[in-house]
Every structure is written in C-alpha cells, then in structure tokens.
Symmetry: C2
C-alpha cells in the first residue's frame, strides 16, 4: 500500500533548490569558532542576533515576564487557562497569532487562494516562499520580474507582463500594488512580520492594520488552532512589546548596529573584489558552488530567489559576530587572491575582471540593506 502522499514524496517542497542545498552543506559542517573553525559559515539565515544583549538586560530587569509571574507571584494557572484555542475569538480582537511567519504566510494563502490560484510576487523573493506559500495550499506564485535598474521595484510593465499569463485568479493585488508607495511594505515584508527583518518591531501593528482594512481577519481566526503560540511565550512577548521605552531603545540601537554591520560587509566585499566568469546563470551557479564548498560560506544564488539577472547573491550578515563576519570576508579575499594568482592575466582579461568585479560587488543581495533605500521609514 502506498503510504505517503504525493505532497510529501514529491519535490514540491523545494528541497532541491540551491537555497536548501546550501543549508544541507552547512548542516554537515557548521562553523564554530572553537570547535570547528574551518566549518561553513552560515550566511543564509536572515536572523538578527545583533541585539541579544539588550533583550538579556531587559529579561534580567523583568524576571516575571519569562518566569510566568506577576508582581513576583506565580500566574501559571491564569496563563494555563488563557484560551488561545477558542473556536470563535470572533470580533473581540483582530489580531491572529501564528506559530512563526511560515505558519502566518500559509494561513493567509489558505484564506485567500483556491488550489491552483496564483499570487503575483516580485523577484527576487525569499526561496522558502515556494514551500511556505505553495506547497500545502496548492496556490501558485507568478513572479513579477523586477530588475536592478530601478532597485528591484515593481514597474507597471513588469506587472502587466505577469498578469498576461493565463491565471485562474489573482489575489493580493492591492497589497502588492502598495509596494511602491512610501508607507507600505513589500509583500515579502508584509507577510513575514518578523521582528528581525528590517528590524521593525512595529510591523506587528501594521500587519494587524492591514488585516483589519480587509475582511476582518481574512478568516484567519478560524485557522488559528493550526499553529498555536504557547501562552507562556505570548506572555513574555506581550510584556516585552508593551515596554515602549525598551522597544524605542531597541529599534534605534538595532538600526545603528545593522548599519555598522552592513558597512563591514560592503567594505569586506570591496576589499575582496570578486569575479563572475561570464554573465550567465551557469557562471553564477559555478561561483556559488565554489563559495559554499571551497570558501565555506553558505550564501544563496540569486537564481534560487528567482532573480532574472545573473550574478546576484543573497547574503545574511546579522546572524553572526563581528569576528565571524570578518573571517568570512577574509576567506573570500583569500579565495579571490589565490584564484587571481593562479591565472595568467592578460591586460585585456584583467580589465574585464576589474569591470566585472566592480559590477558583482554591487550585486550582492543585501537582505537588510533597507537603510540606504528608505531612510525616511526608520
């Protein structure tokens, strides 16, 4: 008897994507400063670890929040009885909690799409979306192909191009269209309301605002029991997010540190220089393999993000220490130098490499490089 569903046995999960392959390699040989200094450095994880000290300090000052207490007294019973599983949270609250952004994204898809329906999504987009949005829901993603010429913003013609496809039904269009407006977020950002991405704790309220503007909670409330958040964690987060003094300090400090780290990355890349042999996806993939297997950095090729221009890479830089980022940049520099020294470089090819170098340095996808693009939104 056939035991497993097509869903789980097929490749629709997307695990054959180079994005996931990079992760697999990292898993086999993860870098550790002490235990495995020659391991692969994880630059594929969009997780901001730059302000842990601020949270640690806050936790030390507010032991009740994590300790299931209020004014020093246990409120375990109260929290245990706090019902998040209500079949009908009804209209009392327009906020629906989800067990992670993947769960939130998928819930939204289930509410908005029939299987086979398609969503427009501007490229490059997070490779995990092929799994998170499509896999179990049966929804499709139709890419809106954006280009580096305007900083990957959606253009009217790109939108029309995507719309020309034979789509059964297109949704979230109104959300997507807001991407160009000043106050709105791209759907990627809108849908993944993590506190790290673009480092906006306030995104949470925007998210709920956007949900409210439409049909209540999209029906998400009916689905909330599929991804519950423990009342223990809700209690902690609620206390943390309610502390306006803390969140203000956190956001400011986080912005500063991200900017410093971003500069560190950019300088490192400029110092390393780099080369893409030809301006093709084949060359991009070749280079990516070398970076993963030889340089030992887990980054993701732009092709895994459905980018239509070769030579872009997704590089995360806020999930490690300053020293580790320095090491990553050092490895890259050494790799380029050793590659260069092995070459017999004619004048003309040198010039070609130099120009490519200039180009590809700017071709890294800076996942958190928002400060340059939308300074007014800080």
């Amino acid at each position: 008897m056939k035991q497993l569903s097509t869903k789980v046995t097929s490749n629709a999960h997307g695990q054959d994507s180079s994005y996931f392959l990079g992760w697999e390699e990292y898993e086999k040989n993860p870098y550790d400063e002490i235990k495995n200094p020659n391991g692969i450095i994880q630059m594929g994880l969009a997780e901001n670890q730059l302000c842990f000290d601020l949270i640690e300090t806050w936790l030390a000052k507010n032991p009740d929040a994590a300790g299931l207490k209020k004014d020093g007294q246990s409120i375990f019973k109260e929290l245990a009885l706090f019902k998040t599983i209500m079949a009908y949270p009804s209209s009392r609250s327009k906020i629906v909690l989800a067990a992670g952004s993947t769960s939130a994204n998928e819930t939204l898809m289930f509410c908005l799409a029939e299987p086979g329906d398609a969503f427009l999504l501007p490229t490059p987009y997070y490779p995990g979306f092929d799994r998170d949005l499509k896999w179990r829901t049966g929804a499709e993603i139709v890419p809106i192909h954006c280009s580096s010429s305007n900083g990957f913003q959606i253009t009217e013609s790109a939108l029309q191009q995507a719309q020309k496809l034979d789509l059964k039904f297109v949704s979230v269009m109104d959300v997507l269209k807001t991407r160009n407006s000043r106050t709105a977020k791209s759907p990627n950002e809108f849908m993944s309301f993590t506190v790290f991405q673009r480092s906006r704790l306030t995104r949470f309220s925007r998210w709920s605002n956007i949900l409210q503007r439409r049909n209540g909670c999209f029906g998400c409330d009916k689905m909330s029991s599929f991804g519950l958040v423990s009342s223990q964690t809700q209690y902690l987060l609620s206390a943390l997010l309610s502390d306006k003094k803390f969140t203000g300090t956190y956001l400011n400090e986080n912005q500063k540190r991200l900017k410093i780290r971003q500069n560190q990355l950019v300088s490192g890349l400029e110092a390393a220089g780099h080369l893409l042999d030809t301006n093709t996806f084949e060359a991009e993939l070749e280079l990516w393999k070398k970076i993963v297997y030889e340089v030992k950095l887990n980054i993701s090729p732009g092709s895994s993000c459905h980018c239509t221009e070769p030579g872009w890479f997704r590089v995360c830089f806020a999930n490690m220490s300053e020293e580790t980022l320095d090491l990553a940049m050092q490895r890259l520099k050494e790799y380029v130098e050793s590659t260069d020294s092995r070459r017999l470089i004619s004048k003309s090819s040198y010039e070609r490499i130099k120009s490519l170098r200039k180009r590809t340095v700017s071709n890294w996808v800076f996942r958190v490089s928002w400060t340059d693009r939308v300074p007014d939104e800080r």
Copy 2:
C-alpha cells in the same frame, strides 16, 4: 474581486456543528463563580486542570526552567540560537514537534493523504476532527460505525461496512486495526498526543515510536516549520518531562484525581436521573438544547460526534473545580425535578421514564473514563 477562498467562506470548517454552537453559547455567557454564577458551565473542553498545583510546585522548585536560565545564569542566547526551524532536521531525531495537537494531526494528514483520500475513523469521534483533519488537507473521514454493545470497539463487520464505500484510497488502516489490541491506542488518542487526554505524559514516546516504525517521520519533519514551538516553551517542557520523579508522581496523582472526579460525575448523573423523550436524534437534539440554554451546561450531543445511537453525550469534567462540577450536577438534578413535577405522570409513562433514565444515565460519553476499560494500561 472575490477576496476569500472557498475554504474559509464555506461551512467545511464545521462551525455549524452543534459542538461549535454549544461553544458559541458558552462564549456569550461563560460561568464564573463570582462574576457570573448563572452563566454556562463549560463541559465541552477536554482539558485536565486537576493537577495544576503539582506543576506550580514544580515550577517554584525549578525556577530556571521557566526563567530561561541554567544554574541561575541566563541562557537566553543559547535558547534563541537553538534552531527548531532547520530545513533538514534529517535523521538526528525522529521527534517532530508541533504547535498543538491540531497542528500535529493536520501535518499527519498532509503526509499521508492526497486531497480526496479517505481515512477510516471509529465513531463516536471528537467533532473537531472534521475541521482538524479534513478542512485544509482535503482529506475525507469515513466513519467506522461502532456501537455501545461492545463499548464502541471496532468490529470486523463494521470495518468491512466502511470499506465497502467507494473509497479512492484508504490509509492509516494498520494504525486503526491496532485499536483492539491491548497496547495500542485508538487513532483519536494516538493522533492527539496531548498530556491531558487520558492523562499519559508517556504518550509522547509512544507517538514517536509509532512514527519511527513507519517511514521515518512520515515526512513530518519537512512540515515542522508550519507550526513551530518556541524554544522557550521547549526548554520548559523538556525540563519538566525529563524529571522522572515528577512525571511519575504526576501520573499517579492525576489518575487518582481523575477517578475521583469521574465518580463525582457519575454519582451526580445518577442522582439527577434524566430523560430522553424518545430514542431518536431529534429528541437528543431537543434535550441538548435544553441542557445548553436552560440548564446552562455546554455539553455536546453524540450526533456531533457522529455517534449512530441517539442519547449519547460528550461531557468533559476535568476542566473545572469540584465545586463547579457539583453545581453542574445540582443544576441538572433541579432541571429534571422541575420537568418531572410539571408532568402528569401516568403509571405506564413513569415506568417508561424510569427505564429510559436508567438507560440514558449510562449513555454519557465519558471522555476520560479509561480507568474502567483499560485498568492494565495505567
């Protein structure tokens, strides 16, 4: 433009079931000893609250577990970096965590069934399964009709009857078939590995054992990111479940308290007596409405559990204090007495009622009445 999916706008969620309607009524007017003593008492929530004191005592003795600490020192950073979101937990562990039993159940369905595939499930079953297992997965449930004559065990003929239906594909058969064996759990119990239901903390290990016996984790690991459990909560649960002395005491004490509470319920029902006017589902529904709206107890009619015999009810009794259960029984008694006194009872109808009473008292579905049936499994 159509904004919401058929899934979310249709009734497939099952919210028109009397099970959910009872909850809705409860929500409007919930009983509270002080604030709303005439409100509806919640007897529809299968949640064991009998041993909160034991957990509170344990938490007081083990403040590190909830407080994100180890040996008194903060391990916030370590916990924050603990990766539950790994795309490939691979073979390192055969345990897949889920954000609640609903999430676990649904994940299992996604892994085992194509949309349209059917699962056999013995009746009566938890009304929420129509939502949890079918709604988003597109799987179907085909009931195996069990009867009270043998304590609702699956018989060969009932199984054959269900199998005769024109099913595209039937799965989990091997799991279902084990129901009659001594050491196995019914699929309901097997699939909802909550620490409360049947009060077995050890179910967790059985669950993982069953998963291991089949194809690894069924592919559930690929789906784990759809329902993450915070590392904060994992840390607490891990510490709690690893304390064998505590879990031993908890299980024993919990069994004792459940048994006492069950006896309290049975005595209360016997003292109240009860009557179903006729042995039909119409009468069952009439009675249910009276109990919800007049007696103000949120219980669920057997029909909502797909029971094929009229007169059964699902009654939860471990989610309230002794006093509240007493009040519920008192209300029921008073209701029956007032109904009796309003009747002109002829000798013959009195006898009829008496016999019905005897019958229906035994007709309550004791959700946690396992001690009578499987004493060797304690």
